[in-house]
C-alpha cells in the first residue's frame, strides 16, 4: 500500500508536467530530434575516445620507466601553491633545486600536487609516492598525521614535513623559529607605529602561528612595553574575506600596522590596507607580510603598504633537505630547526619604508637573538 501511494503520486505528477509542456511547446518538437542527433554523435565519439585512451595509457606507462637519479615533489596544504606565502615559498625552493640540478617538471624530476581538503593529504602523498619520487615534502603542520601513516607504509620513499614533527626513520622534520623573525617584525612595528596601536592577524590557532604571535608580542614589548597587540585569528588559511574583515576592524580602531600570519587569508589584510591607501594617499597604514617577500602584494599605484615581510625561508630549508637527500645524507628521523642564526628566518628588504636608524636598531636585536643574548618566547602568555 505505501508503495502504490508513492508511485501513483510521482507518476501522475510527472505526466502533468509533460502534458503542460507539450501544450506550450509544440513548435519545439524538432529541437528534440536535433538534440538526439547530437547525442548519437556524442555516443560514437565517446566510443572513439575510449579506444585512444587505452593506447595512450600504454604509452605513458612505458615512458615512465626512464628516470633520472633523483626526484623531488611536494604536497601543498589547502592554501594552494599560489598562496603568495608558505606553500609558494616551498614550491619556489623546489623549482630552484630543480633548476640547479637541471631537472624538469614531471615524473622523475620535480612536481607538486595541491590539496583542496584535509582528506586530500593522504591521497596526494600517496599519488606522488606511486610516481616514484625519491623525496616528498608535506608542506604544513596539518599534514602530520597523513605523513605519519604513509611513511610507515611506504618505507622506500623519504618524506619531509615542514612545520611539524613526525617520528619515523624515513621522515625529516623541519621546524622554524618563527618567534625570532616575528620578534624583529615586532620591534620594527613598535618603532614605526604612530598611533601606538598594532595588530596581529593569525590563521588557525595552532602552535606554529602561536609562535609568530608570541615572538611578535615580545618584540613589540621589548621596545614599547605599554602597547597591547590587538590579536585576531581568522580560523582559516584560505579565507581572504575573513582576513579583510579583521584588518578592517583593526584599522578602523586606530591600528596602523598589522602583521599577518594567515597564509591566503592574509591576502585580505593587504586588500583592506590597499583600499584605504587608495582612498586616502596620506593614510598611515602598513602591513607586515609573512613567509615570502610580499612587497608585490602591497603595491597601490606608486605607493606600497608593505612595511616589510618576515621571511620564513621555507625555500632554503626545502633546498637544503633536497641537497642532503640527493647526496645520500637524508636526515631521516631527525628534526632540523632553522632560526635567525641559520638564515631560516629574517626580515625582507623594506625598500625604504623603514628608515636607516630603525633598521639599525632592528639589526642590533637580530644580533642579540643570534648570539643567544635574547631568548624569544615560543608560547603566548
Amino acid at each position: 500500500m505505501p508503495d502504490t501511494l508513492c508511485k501513483t503520486f510521482s507518476t501522475s505528477h510527472k505526466y502533468q508536467i509533460i502534458k503542460n509542456r507539450e501544450v506550450h511547446t509544440v513548435s519545439k518538437r524538432k529541437y528534440g530530434l536535433a538534440l538526439s542527433l547530437v547525442l548519437a554523435a556524442g555516443t560514437i565519439l565517446g566510443a572513439c575516445g575510449t579506444d585512444k585512451d587505452k593506447e595512450k595509457d600504454n604509452n605513458t606507462s612505458s615512458s615512465g620507466g626512464n628516470q633520472s637519479e633523483f626526484s623531488v615533489a611536494m604536497v601543498t596544504d589547502v592554501g594552494g601553491v599560489d598562496d603568495k606565502s608558505f606553500n609558494q615559498s616551498a614550491w619556489e625552493g623546489i623549482q630552484q633545486f630543480g633548476k640547479d640540478n637541471e631537472m624538469t617538471k614531471g615524473d622523475g624530476g620535480f612536481d607538486y600536487l595541491q590539496s583542496k581538503d584535509e582528506s586530500d593529504y593522504t591521497s596526494n602523498l600517496n599519488a606522488l609516492t606511486r610516481r616514484d619520487f625519491n623525496l616528498v615534502f608535506g608542506v604544513g603542520f596539518l599534514m602530520e598525521d597523513a605523513i605519519d601513516t604513509i611513511a610507515s607504509q611506504q618505507t622506500e620513499t623519504n618524506y619531509a614535513i615542514i612545520d611539524g614533527v613526525v617520528d619515523q626513520p624515513n621522515v625529516a622534520s623541519i621546524l622554524f623559529k618563527e618567534q625570532e623573525g616575528a620578534f624583529l617584525a615586532g620591534v620594527a612595528a613598535a618603532l614605526m607605529t604612530k598611533s601606538d596601536k598594532i595588530g596581529f592577524v593569525g590563521g588557525m590557532e595552532i602552535p606554529v602561528i602561536e609562535r609568530f604571535q608570541a615572538g611578535f608580542e615580545a618584540g613589540v614589548a621589548a621596545v614599547k612595553p605599554d602597547i597591547k597587540v590587538d590579536v585576531q585569528y581568522t580560523g582559516a588559511f584560505d579565507k581572504a574575506e575573513l582576513g579583510k574583515a579583521a584588518a578592517g576592524r583593526m584599522y578602523s580602531s586606530g591600528v596602523d600596522i598589522i602583521f599577518h600570519a594567515a597564509g591566503g587569508s592574509g591576502n585580505g589584510v593587504f586588500t583592506e590596507a590597499k583600499e584605504r591607501k587608495k582612498a586616502d594617499k596620506d593614510a598611515y597604514v602598513w602591513v607586515i607580510g609573512v613567509d615570502s617577500d610580499q612587497y608585490e602584494e602591497g603595491k597601490v599605484g606608486d605607493d606600497n603598504v608593505t612595511l616589510t615581510s618576515m621571511l620564513k625561508r621555507v625555500d632554503v630549508a626545502v633546498q637544503d633537505i633536497s641537497n642532503l637527500a640527493k647526496e645520500g645524507k637524508f636526515p631521516g628521523g631527525e628534526t632540523k630547526v632553522y632560526g635567525l642564526h641559520d638564515d631560516g628566518v629574517t626580515l625582507a628588504d623594506s625598500r625604504g619604508a623603514i628608515p636607516e636608524d630603525v633598521l639599525k636598531q632592528v639589526d642590533d636585536y637580530a644580533k642579540k637573538i643570534a648570539d643567544g643574548e635574547i631568548e624569544v618566547p615560543e608560547f603566548t602568555k
Binding site: 501511494l5 538526439s36 547525442l39 555516443t43 591521497s123 600517496n126
Partner: protein, 348 residues
C-alpha cells in the same frame, strides 16, 4: 521506446553530454581532454588503491544523501546535514578516544554516539518546525554554523588547548588491515557496510513500516494526513531526528574510518551540502542514493588524479566535474527529448 529503455538511456546520455562539454572546456583552456579523462578514469578505477579510496569516499556520501532524502520524503528540506555530520564526527571521535572498552561494545557505542549527536542536532529544527512553524531551512542553515564553531571549541576543550582530538582507540576503529592490504594501503574501511546497511534500514522504514507510511503521507499532504488522524508534528520531529542520525553516522565514517580523529576546521566539509545533490540525483529513493553517492564520490576522488597525471589545474578540473554533475542533474530535459522522439515515431 519503453520506459525501461528510457530509464537506462537518460543517465548514460547525460553523463556523455557532460563529458563532451567538459572536454570542450579543457580543449578551450589548452589541455588535453583525452589525457584528462584517462586520468579521471584511472583516478577512480585505475588500481586497487584507487578503487579502495573511491569506495571510502562514497561511504559518507551515501549517509549524507540518505539523511537529505529521508527528510525530503517527509516534505522537509534538511540543509543541516553538514552540521549534523560534524557533531557526529566529533561525538564518534570523542567516544572512540576517551573510553577503553572491548571492541564489541566500543565500536557500536561510538557509532551510536555519532547517530545520537546528529539526531539531537536534527531534533532542534524539528521541534521548532513542529511547534512554532519556523521554517526548517533557516534553522538548519544556522545550526550548521553553530555546529562548526561549537565543534571547534569542543576540540580545543577536550584536547587541552590543542587543535585536534586524540586518535581513536583501535577498538573503536572501522579500519581493517584486511581491507587496507587488499587495496594496497588505501584508507578503505568497513564504513561502506554501515552505509549500505543504513540504505536497507531506510528502505525498510519507508516502505515496510506504519511509521514510514505516516512519514511519507505527511510529506505528500500534511493537512490530509492530519485529517486522517496522523500526528503531523510528531512525524516532522521524527523525520528530522532520523535524518540527523544518518548524517551523524556520516560523520562517524570520517571519525572512525578515514581520519581517526577530528581536526579544528576552518570551514565546512562540503559532504553535507553535496548530500543534497546526491539525494536529488537519486530521486530521494534509498537505492537512488547509492548511485548518486557513487557518482559524487568517484568524481570527487578521481578528480584528484587529473592534476596529478594530466597536469590539468585544479580549477579547470572543478569546472569539468561540475559540468558532468550538471548534465546528470538535468536528465529530465533529456528524458522529455527522448519521449518526444518516441511519440513522433509512433505517430508515423
Amino acid at each position: 521506446m519503453s520506459n525501461k529503455v528510457v530509464n537506462i538511456l537518460v543517465p548514460v546520455i547525460s553523463i556523455i553530454l557532460g563529458l563532451i562539454v567538459g572536454a570542450i572546456v579543457m580543449l578551450v583552456s589548452g589541455y588535453d581532454p583525452v589525457a584528462g579523462y584517462i586520468a579521471l578514469w584511472n583516478g577512480i578505477f585505475g588500481d586497487a588503491y584507487a578503487i579502495g579510496e573511491t569506495i571510502r569516499q562514497i561511504s559518507p556520501y551515501i549517509l549524507a544523501g540518505l539523511a537529505v532524502a529521508f527528510a525530503f520524503r517527509t516534505g522537509l528540506f534538511n540543509i543541516g546535514v553538514e552540521g549534523q555530520l560534524m557533531v557526529g564526527w566529533f561525538a564518534a571521535a570523542y567516544v572512540g578516544s576517551a573510553f577503553e572498552l572491548p571492541m564489541i561494545i566500543h565500536l557500536p557505542l561510538s557509532l551510536l554516539a555519532a547517530a545520537v549527536a546528529g539526531a539531537l542536532w536534527g531534533l532542534i529544527p524539528g521541534i521548532l518546525k513542529a511547534t512554532l512553524r519556523v521554517h526548517e531551512v533557516i534553522v538548519t542553515i544556522m545550526m550548521n554554523y553553530i555546529a562548526l564553531h561549537t565543534v571547534n571549541a569542543l576540540i580545543k576543550a577536550v584536547s587541552g588547548g590543542g587543535y585536534k582530538t586524540e586518535k581513536i582507540q583501535p577498538t573503536a576503529s572501522l579500519r581493517s588491515d584486511f581491507l587496507s592490504q587488499l587495496t594496497d594501503f588505501s584508507t578503505l574501511h568497513y564504513g561502506i557496510f554501515v552505509a549500505l546497511a543504513m540504505v536497507i534500514v531506510t528502505w525498510f522504514i519507508l516502505e515496510k513500516t506504519k511509521t514510514g507510511y505516516e512519514l511519507k503521507s505527511v510529506g505528500f499532504n500534511d493537512h490530509a494526513s492530519q485529517y486522517a488522524g496522523m500526528n503531523v508534528n510528531k512525524n516532522i520531529i521524527l523525520a528530522m531526528v532520523i535524518s540527523g542520525a544518518f548524517a551523524g553516522l556520516g560523520g562517524a565514517m570520517e571519525a572512525l574510518g578515514t581520519f581517526g580523529n577530528m581536526t579544528n576546521r576552518g570551514g565546512f566539509t562540503g559532504i553535507g551540502f553535496d548530500g543534497i545533490a546526491v539525494a536529488l540525483l537519486g530521486a530521494n529513493s534509498p537505492l537512488g542514493v547509492i548511485f548518486g553517492a557513487s557518482l559524487f564520490g568517484s568524481l570527487k576522488y578521481g578528480a584528484n588524479n587529473m592534476p596529478n597525471a594530466a597536469n590539468i589545474p585544479l580549477e579547470i578540473v572543478s569546472i569539468v566535474i561540475a559540468l558532468i554533475i550538471f548534465f546528470v542533474a538535468s536528465g529530465y530535459i533529456i528524458r522529455v527529448g527522448l519521449q518526444r522522439l518516441a511519440k513522433k515515431k509512433e505517430a508515423k
